[in-house]
């Protein structure tokens, strides 16, 4: 290529770029989701919910009378922390998104939140309950309650419901969410029943399929029930193996159980078990019901909590953009404006309940105890508010 032609091309592209800047800028929202890897059903729920949200809004957000087109950039983080951080870097630097929704589980949200905060891009995690996700990170927000709240909720529920005094815990030591929640549960339980009332505190590492040694230890220690804050694929294996080893007490879980696939993989073994979560699809009313019905109609199954929380997160993003007043096309200024607007939201009526936001960007909201019915449905059992 001759030098002249090259110069001409550069000039032409500069001109085009200038023209592009004059039009209404597109709002780009990055979605950082686990589409493959350990928890693909969570990724699917995120993607479906986000696509449905875009469709519902007609692909635009109106800010101060101007209609801005919205574009979703959905990227896969393979359910890995390091990939989630890499996805955030790509979304921020390459796709130039204004705001990131995700990642979902704390294992990915904790490292990815660091990237978003360092690169000054607002991020909101719909599902991550570990405190470290937003801790000392002014650019990072979330929509679910936190594990320091959820742990004691489960401890109180089991105490009230069954009157047990000896707990066994089985958790994945290599993943932020189960490890954090197991520890919060332990301290919550010991606050009620005194030291050493968690008789077995057993762990495994991600990818293990055999839990027989740990379960035998738990049974040998005389635990009356097992608390296992694991994801749906492990829940099925843990519950079945516990039953095969002859464990007869209840097995209690946390919000990570709330996937549409838990019952599919676990089957009858999981019927009658309880877990704490963000919302219950059965018996929902109002906007929550409208969301569930629409999702069910579009994709053929009842959305799990991830889908509902993603919906809330996107609506918070929408409100922050609208509160911001104007999208200028200057990426840095827009990101700052959206962050400030998001930090200023004090109350938000979501489909997973009303949220009041703290200084840290964490919501205060109620938890729900769900029972898996004899038909394999997640039925509302009890609501626990802070």
């Amino acid at each position: 290529m001759s030098r002249k032609l090259f110069a001409l091309l550069i000039f032409a592209s500069l001109m085009l770029g200038a023209c592009g800047g004059a039009a209404t800028p597109t709002i780009r929202i990055g979605i950082n989701a686990p589409l493959t890897g350990d928890i693909p059903k969570v990724g699917e729920g995120t993607k479906f919910s986000a696509e449905m949200w875009l469709e519902e809004n007609g692909g635009t957000i109106t800010v101060g009378g101007t209609e801005y087109p919205v574009e979703l950039v959905i990227e896969d983080n393979e359910s890995k922390g390091e990939s989630a951080a890499a996805v955030n870097t790509k979304l921020i630097t390459q796709d130039e998104v204004h705001v990131i929704v995700g990642p979902q589980s704390s294992k990915q949200a904790v490292p990815a939140g660091g990237v978003a905060n360092d690169q000054k891009t607002p991020m909101i995690s719909p599902w991550s309950t570990n405190p470290n996700t937003t801790l000392d990170r002014p650019w990072v927000f979330r929509t679910p309650f936190l594990d320091p709240f959820q742990g004691p909720v489960v401890a109180n529920f089991v105490t009230d419901e069954f009157g047990f005094t000896k707990a066994g815990v089985l958790y994945d030591v290599a993943s932020d969410y189960p490890k954090g929640l197991a520890e919060f549960f332990k301290s919550g339980w010991e606050d009620i029943h005194g030291p050493d009332s968690v008789v077995a505190f057993e762990s495994f590492t991600t990818g293990d399929a055999d839990f027989s040694a740990q379960l035998t230890n738990i049974m040998n220690a005389g635990a009356e029930f097992i608390f296992t804050p694991q994801y749906y694929n492990e829940v099925a294996l843990i519950v079945q193996q516990a039953h095969e080893l002859g464990f007869e007490g209840p097995i209690v879980g946390s919000d990570s159980w709330g996937s549409a696939e838990t019952v599919e993989l676990c089957g009858e073994d999981c019927y009658g078990l309880f877990f704490s979560t963000h919302y219950a699809a059965e018996g929902a009313t109002g906007a929550t019901k409208a969301f569930i019905d629409k999702y069910n109609e579009n994709y053929g199954y009842v959305p799990d909590d991830v889908g509902a929380l993603t919906w809330d997160a996107l609506n918070i993003v929408k409100q922050a953009i609208q509160d911001c007043g104007e999208i200028t096309g200057d990426l840095e200024a827009d990101r700052l404006c959206i962050r400030d607007a998001m930090a200023n939201i004090e109350e938000f009526p979501g489909i997973t309940g009303n949220m009041t936001f703290t200084e840290e960007g964490d919501p205060i909201k109620c938890a729900v105890i769900v029972r898996i019915s004899e038909e394999g449905l997640f039925t509302f059992y009890k609501q626990v508010c802070p």
Partner: protein, 311 residues
């Protein structure tokens, strides 16, 4: 005491899988001096083949429309699934050898090992691309019944898994020891260069070695599905690596050695989690193996010099 026996049964079950997979590693290494790093993923493919064969036989899931007209009993389904899947997976194994390794027969061993890793990745991601990332729930092939003897609780599944894996290990051992094909395999392990001069086709023996190893991997995959009925495309990675450790521990090329080492690894993993905090499980378990290998670098049944290979 009950507690000990309970853990012993847990260990036997876990060891069964390691044993069956380790034998595949060990045989290929004995005959071809090659670490077939794709073997863990061949195990995964075997489990998926078992999933589809048993679903078809039971008329489940996607096969609802083709349900077999005859009503077959569960135990017959299990036997048929084992036989058909082992046959199909041995074809997969032979393809791996033919496409991946034979062109590299004379290449440096490192190239072949890297090829193995790549075949493994192709199998994983290929599965991901074709079948999607969602987990598969393995059909229940054995009506689970819990047996309780003197406080020790175990299922009929566990007994069957341990029984089948020991049976297959012994059968393979007999095959290698007492048949002409087995003799050819041992000859090839003994001297790679002279064997073709005796009129034995090294290509055929290599194919057969892969076929046998993959058939055992398929059996391991189905038994895995029976014990842990959640399948995913990456299930072979961790299990494959652990079985590889067992193969090294057993001694290069030794079938019984690999089998025994597989069970030993199961025992170490379970009892480490029993005695020490389970947080330290892998650290201590593999620390123990490192110490064993320091004192017996050739494993339990391996020989220091390549000319002394045993199968």
């Amino acid at each position: 005491m009950e507690f000990f026996f309970q853990q012993l049964i847990n260990a036997l079950q876990l060891g069964s899988f390691y044993a069956l997979i380790a034998i595949g590693y060990s045989m290929v290494y004995g005959v071809l001096l090659l670490f077939n790093f794709a073997h863990g993923d061949v195990f995964m493919v075997g489990a998926y083949i078992g999933f589809f064969v048993s679903s078809a036989l039971l008329g489940l899931n996607i096969f609802g429309a083709l349900a077999l007209p005859l009503s077959v009993t569960l135990s017959l389904v299990l036997v048929l699934t084992l036989i058909i899947s082992m046959a199909l997976n041995s074809i997969v194994g032979m393809l791996v050898e033919r496409i991946g390794y034979r062109p590299l027969r004379d290449a440096p061993r490192a190239s072949a090992a890297i090829t193995g890793l790549m075949i493994g990745i192709i199998l994983e991601t290929g599965n991901l691309a074709i079948l999607g990332p969602q987990r598969r729930s393995f059909p229940e092939l054995i009506q689970s019944a819990t047996i309780n003897i003197a406080g020790v609780s175990f299922t009929n599944k566990k007994i069957l898994i341990v029984f089948i894996s020991i049976l297959l290990t012994l059968a393979l051992h007999q095959f290698v020891r007492h048949t002409k094909w087995g003799m050819a395999m041992r000859a090839m392990a003994y001297d790679y260069v002279v064997v073709p001069l005796m009129g034995i086709s090294t290509n055929k023996i290599a194919l057969m070695t892969f076929a046998l190893g993959s058939a055992l991997a398929a059996a391991a995959g189905i038994l895995y599905g029976v014990a842990y009925p959640v399948l995913d495309p990456n299930m072979g990675i961790l299990f494959g690596w652990k079985a590889f450790v067992a193969a090294i521990l057993g001694g290069r090329g030794s079938i019984l050695g690999a089998g025994l080492a597989g069970f030993l690894l199961g025992f170490i993993e379970i009892f480490v989690a029993t005695i020490f905090p389970s947080t330290m499980r892998n650290l201590i378990a593999f620390g123990i193996i490192l110490i064993i290998l320091t004192f017996r670098p050739h494993g339990f049944f391996g020989e220091p010099f390549s000319a002394q290979l045993r199968l």
